[in-house]
């Protein structure tokens, strides 16, 4: 009896106490809780493949340079200045003085050498090794000066050195943890504003403020990344006050969240371009007029606002805005003109259209499946009967990596984003003929010898103006050849509680909340 009444009392006190507490304004929390959609696969900078994971790793480790998105260039971080030899084969970096790793050892040229030699070692798992594979040798000139000797000019190298993959690791910490264990343990191994404390698999990653940080100290003592795979649950947890920030709540809820007085929706355009690839080696799509007709037939602006809730910007070039080398080709994107589309189809010999299969993933990009259905409906207006089919992502990847003789692709939805802001990523990756599957991931099988030579030259010359010119030419040619239906650059977004201020979104699909504060 006594036990039962104790339970009743306890239950009653919970009922009375908790709702009141939640309504009152809260003091700044000691720990900032951020709901992320996926668990980390690896904490090792070298092994990074996913921006969200890299985003968490960025709290712990730092790179030599950091991206300056506003200026479209790179800025000092662990390196304070650098010089590039005239032939573009020697990069000499002056390192920041007085920086220590979280384990107390000092950051110096040896640590840089250790990090890059590890990145170049075939035994290390480095999926994005292309970022640094032009480096032939790392020379320590003195304690705070390091030189990279390249095997070929690499105009993207400085940009590449801003990505998480190249973050500097403490050799002493790595020896203590064991290089293979850096995958799951980052204890005291970086120079970043936070240090690794705990990773509970499938649940959370906890980092605490680095007391010896060389830069400005962040506001929160701890940051906990909570793994919440379901977008609706992330939103609910934010509304319930369980977390202070949630990445990518469900897109259809974005408008409502914008109107919610307790929530701030932070969004920004990114370099992820969403397109419908057209297999330029399949049937009617071999004809550029047909591909142009597809572009005329689709009303991108209408789909963007009605299906995508305005979470994007219609592209006006194959390379999205904000990248080095970007040049707009057609203001406002390819115009919507179904009459012109029908006319081009008739000219190409398809006055009554044709049937085509249309593959799309589901849930990989914002509203991807819904977008495919809307596009198919608009194509039907000009006589193109596209049948949409979808599949889970791993099977989809198997489709888009199939070689030309085996591919089932005719038209397909895909999104492409690069880790640094340079047109090389999308132009070379998607339109250079060397990148046709299975070698690369350019499943439109676009082939143009001139474009190939421009892109080759642009990734080997260090002449900045020359590169810009080459990319302009390539963008114009590709746009006219229309191996894609050019859609939009996708926005990235997070929702935060109103009290959290100073959060921003970067163009490479990361949030920047290190210096967020509580209001």
């Amino acid at each position: 009896m006594g036990r039962i009444s104790a339970w009743v009392l306890l239950a009653a006190s919970v009922l009375v106490a908790v709702p009141g507490a939640a309504v009152q304004a809260q003091p700044p929390p000691k720990t900032l809780h951020i709901a992320v959609g996926i668990d980390a696969d690896t904490l090792d900078p070298a092994g990074q493949t996913t921006t969200t994971v890299a985003n968490m790793v960025d709290y712990i480790y730092e790179t030599l340079l950091r991206p300056d998105y506003a200026g479209g260039t790179v800025a000092p971080q662990l390196a304070t200045s650098w010089t590039v030899s005239r032939d573009g084969l020697m990069y000499t970096f002056r390192l920041r003085r007085g920086v220590t790793f979280q384990d107390g050892t000092s950051f110096d040229a040896d640590a840089v050498k250790f990090t890059f030699e590890r990145l170049l070692d075939p035994k290390t798992r480095v999926p994005l090794r292309f970022l640094v594979d032009a480096i032939k040798e790392v020379q320590v000139l003195d304690a705070l000066t390091v030189r990279f000797v390249l095997s070929r000019p690499s105009p993207m190298l400085l940009s590449n050195l801003t990505y998480t993959t190249t973050a500097i690791i403490s050799p002493a910490a790595a020896a203590k943890i064991g290089p293979a264990n850096l995958v799951r343990d980052a204890t005291a191994a970086g120079t970043g504003p936070y240090q690794f404390k705990e990773w509970v698999r499938g649940t959370s990653i906890l980092v605490t403020r680095n007391p010896g940080y060389w830069g400005k100290a962040p506001a929160f003592d701890e940051v906990m990344f909570r793994v919440v795979p379901d977008a609706g649950t992330r939103e609910t947890m934010l509304l319930a006050g369980d977390v202070h920030m949630a990445m990518l709540p469900p897109a259809p809820d974005v408008r409502r969240l914008r109107e919610n007085p307790n929530v701030t929706l932070v969004q920004a355009p990114t370099d992820r371009v969403i397109f419908i690839g057209l297999n330029t080696q399949w049937g009617p799509l071999r004809d550029a007029r047909v591909r142009q007709a597809f572009n005329y037939a689709v009303n991108k602006g209408a789909i963007l606002s009605s299906v995508l809730f305005d979470l994007g910007t219609v592209v006006d070039s194959p390379c999205p805005a904000g990248m080095f080398g970007y040049g707009p080709v057609q203001a406002g994107g390819w115009p919507f003109n179904p009459i012109k589309a029908k006319q081009l189809l008739a000219e190409a010999g398809y006055p009554s259209g044709f049937e085509v299969t249309f593959f799309t993933p589901t849930g990989r990009y914002i509203q991807d499946f819904q977008v495919a259905q809307a596009v198919a409906a608009q194509l039907r207006n000009v006589g193109i009967r596209a049948s949409v089919s979808t599949m889970e992502w791993p099977s989809y990847v198997a489709e888009i990596t199939a070689p030309p003789e085996r591919t089932r692709l005719q038209m397909f939805v895909l999104g492409w984003a690069w880790v640094v802001l340079d047109c090389d990523g999308v132009l070379f990756g998607q339109f250079h003929s060397s990148q046709h599957p299975p070698r690369g991931l350019a499943p439109a099988f676009y082939t143009n010898a001139e474009v190939d030579s421009w892109l080759d030259e642009a990734r080997t010359t260090v002449d900045v103006e020359k590169r810009k010119t080459l990319y302009r030419q390539a963008q114009q040619r590709i746009w006219t050849d229309a191996p894609w239906i050019f859609l939009w650059a996708q926005n990235w977004y997070v929702a935060t509680v109103k009290s959290l201020v100073g959060v921003s979104i970067t163009p490479i699909e990361k949030w920047d909340a290190i210096y967020a504060t509580w209001k």
Binding site: T49, G202, T203, S204, D242, P394, V397, G429, R439
Partner: protein, 310 residues
């Protein structure tokens, strides 16, 4: 003539070995028959072909199938199921971390389901064809029909967003357990209630119950002490099956509530085509099912002494 318990258990476990061997072959082939290249999926779309190839070699996917199967069997015998292709952690370790969460959730929701389901079923049978019976059966119909992701979100909105009684999702404290356990228990509770009611109604018509009543025993004692015990066999079967299923991880509930269980690990392993993890989890599931079935059979004997080990 009763065979000793120990020998019975050992024999049952030995019978399970060919089953488990079959499971290893089935899962080994299944993961390789579905499309999707693990090396490409793990390395990501941006990785160059060379890196993907390197990864393929690292993961042993370039080896002939029989060799891969032999290595897999060796890792099963070694008890670690190999290394996760993604995290390079022993699979057994990955499973161990999630097993605690899954066990906690499965045991709690089964306990809830048994407590609530038995009580409701007994009530419904005792008040057969009255408003109580109809109400219980309606609720049970609801319980089997409502999808967990809907129920979960509704409970979350009410108890986490509006009332702030419990956290919406995540894990770590007992409070985190409440919503997922209740959500997960809804279906099992309904099944147990229906099964208890049906079985009890049948038993209540039997001769020995009439005898008990004729002796003047109170209705409550007749139902609880005499009829219920005899009605439990099918209920035990259902609970055993349900529990076995829950041990396999409740994918939807775990995803909805961000609960770090085995079901979610399995789904993320399938998404990454992490063969060793998929294989390891499926074998563990199969083994757990064997054990749960065995325990269920032993419970029969405890419930009804007329049943013998055989």
């Amino acid at each position: 003539m009763r065979a000793p318990l120990g020998r019975y258990v050992v024999r049952r476990l030995l019978y399970a070995l060919p089953t488990l061997l079959g499971v290893t072959l089935a899962v080994f082939l299944l993961v390789r028959l579905i499309p999707g290249d693990p090396a490409r999926l793990i390395a990501g779309l941006l990785a160059s072909d060379d890196e993907v190839q390197r990864l393929r070699v690292e993961l042993g996917l370039d080896r002939p199938m029989p060799e891969q199967y032999a290595r897999f069997l060796a890792s099963v015998l070694a008890g670690n199921f190999g290394l996760s292709a993604v995290t390079r952690t022993p699979v057994i370790e990955e499973i161990g971390i999630r097993m605690r969460a899954t066990l906690t959730l499965a045991v709690t929701s089964t306990a809830l389901a048994v407590a609530a389901g038995l009580s409701a079923g007994v009530l419904a049978a005792a008040y057969h064809n009255t408003a109580v019976d109809y109400a219980v059966m309606m609720a049970a119909l609801g319980g089997v029909s409502v999808p967990v992701f809907w129920l979960g979100i509704m409970l979350m909105l009410l108890f986490a967003v509006h009332l702030h009684w419990v956290p919406a999702g995540g894990s770590g404290t007992p409070a985190h357990l409440i919503l997922p356990a209740v959500t997960l228990a809804a279906f099992s509770t309904a099944i147990v209630a229906r099964m208890t009611r049906g079985s009890l109604l049948e038993t209540l018509n039997l001769d020995f119950v009439r005898t008990a009543r004729a002796k003047g025993i109170g209705e409550g004692a007749v139902i609880i002490r005499h009829a219920l015990r005899n009605a439990l066999i099918p209920v035990v079967t259902v609970v055993g099956l349900q529990f076995g299923t829950l041990l396999g991880g409740a994918v939807l509930t775990e995803t909805t509530f961000a609960w770090p269980g085995l079901g979610r690990l399995l789904v993320s392993a399938i998404t990454a085509r992490d063969y060793p993890v998929i294989q390891g989890i499926v074998i563990v599931f199969a083994a757990m099912f064997v054990v749960v079935n065995l325990v269920t059979d032993l419970l029969y004997v405890a419930v009804d002494p007329r049943i013998r080990y055989g």
